[in-house]
């Protein structure tokens, strides 16, 4: 009996390692847990893309549940995400504020004119400073911010149909009730 156990031990070790490695295949190393969840959204005051004279600050959204979507006209994955955002805007599903990250305002405006503008407004983060304050490293990124200005969820990379239906929509509904 003991003998058998000794011979089975390598197999057992192999299986444990295999399970971990197998799990690793489906982990996305780009999805770094955000330290911002359940923390207040960093404050900023930036000029708007459409009206450079007007400013926007997250404080303006107090009392609403909203999305802060980081985008840029140079960002390929943003284009992939864009139709979904346009659809959400059409349904008036949630207010979306765009953080136009390290972009040229003219290019950004042309991009919105071409593909549609789902944003209630976009602000210009020309040098990417506010992006750094929000820990942005892979555009597009989307933050769900609650009525008290607390970040509740962060999507790194495009919002997919799945993520929207499974995670974000239920969360938005719950946050609106709160």
């Amino acid at each position: 009996m003991r003998r058998v156990l000794v011979y089975l031990l390598p197999l057992a070790i192999f299986l444990v390692v295999a399970v971990f490695l197998l799990r690793g295949l489906w982990l996305n190393p780009r999805e770094v847990p955000s330290p911002f969840i359940d923390k207040p959204a960093p404050m900023f005051s930036l000029a708007q893309l459409a009206q450079p004279d007007a400013k926007f600050s997250p404080a303006d959204m107090k009392g609403q549940v909203w999305l802060l979507n980081v985008w840029a006209s140079w960002c390929v994955a943003c284009r992939q995400e864009h139709p979904l955002l346009v659809e959400l805007a059409r349904q008036k599903a949630v207010p979306i504020v765009g953080l136009n990250y390290k972009d040229k305002p003219d290019a950004a405006k042309a991009w919105l004119a071409k593909f549609g503008d789902p944003y209630d407004l976009s602000v210009k983060d020309l040098d990417g400073r506010i992006g750094i304050d929000y820990g942005v490293y892979g555009v597009p990124e989307t933050f769900v911010i609650d009525k008290n200005g607390v970040i509740r969820f962060k999507q790194i990379g495009p919002i997919t149909e799945d993520v929207w239906k499974q995670k974000m929509l239920p969360m938005l509904e719950q946050l609106r009730k709160a």
């Binding site: 190393p29 955000s34 330290p35 040098d127 990417g128 750094i132 490293y137």
Partner: protein, 158 residues
């Protein structure tokens, strides 16, 4: 063959170019040293296997500038690292802090080593215990004497 070699050499080109970065230099060499040291400790989140010092991703350049500015503003190394951690999490640190979530990371290898040493020790002591301690019987004694006698014979003859 030549083509493969050329492709290989081309592929290695970035290795030679890692430190060439275009950004404002700090005039003070001590501050420059701090900038390099700090950015070498921080992971670039765009190309995750490079530090901010090595990476030429735009974000890495921005973050180096950020460190540069903060050094000029008189912040301490600890404050600058904290600045990065509050934004990007412990993941940016190549030397992660010791806490509940990183316990396995820090304690895991040493635990495995201790376990291996312990197993090795136990195997050895058990093997020793299996060596029987009983007097030789006559046949064994004769055999031993024959062997030993041979040995001593060899010695005297040489």
């Amino acid at each position: 063959m030549r083509r493969t070699l050329a492709v290989l050499l081309l592929a290695m080109l970035p290795l030679a170019a890692t430190t060439a970065a275009t950004e404002p230099m700090l005039l003070d060499p001590v501050a420059q040293r701090r900038l390099v040291d700090l950015s070498a400790q921080l992971r670039c989140l765009v190309c995750q296997n490079q530090s901010i010092a090595e990476s030429n991703a735009e974000l890495a350049v921005d973050l180096r500038n950020q460190i540069n500015e903060q050094i000029k503003a008189g912040r301490t190394d600890g404050e600058i690292v904290d600045f990065m951690v509050t934004r990007y999490g412990d993941f940016v640190l190549y030397r992660p802090p010791f806490k509940a979530t990183t316990l396995l990371l820090w304690v895991g290898p040493i635990t495995l080593l201790l376990l291996a040493v312990f197993t090795f020790y136990r195997t050895l002591t058990r093997r020793r215990a299996r060596i029987e301690d009983r007097p030789l019987n006559d046949a064994e004694r004769a055999e031993a004497e024959r062997l030993l006698g041979q040995g001593s014979n060899n010695k005297t003859s040489s």
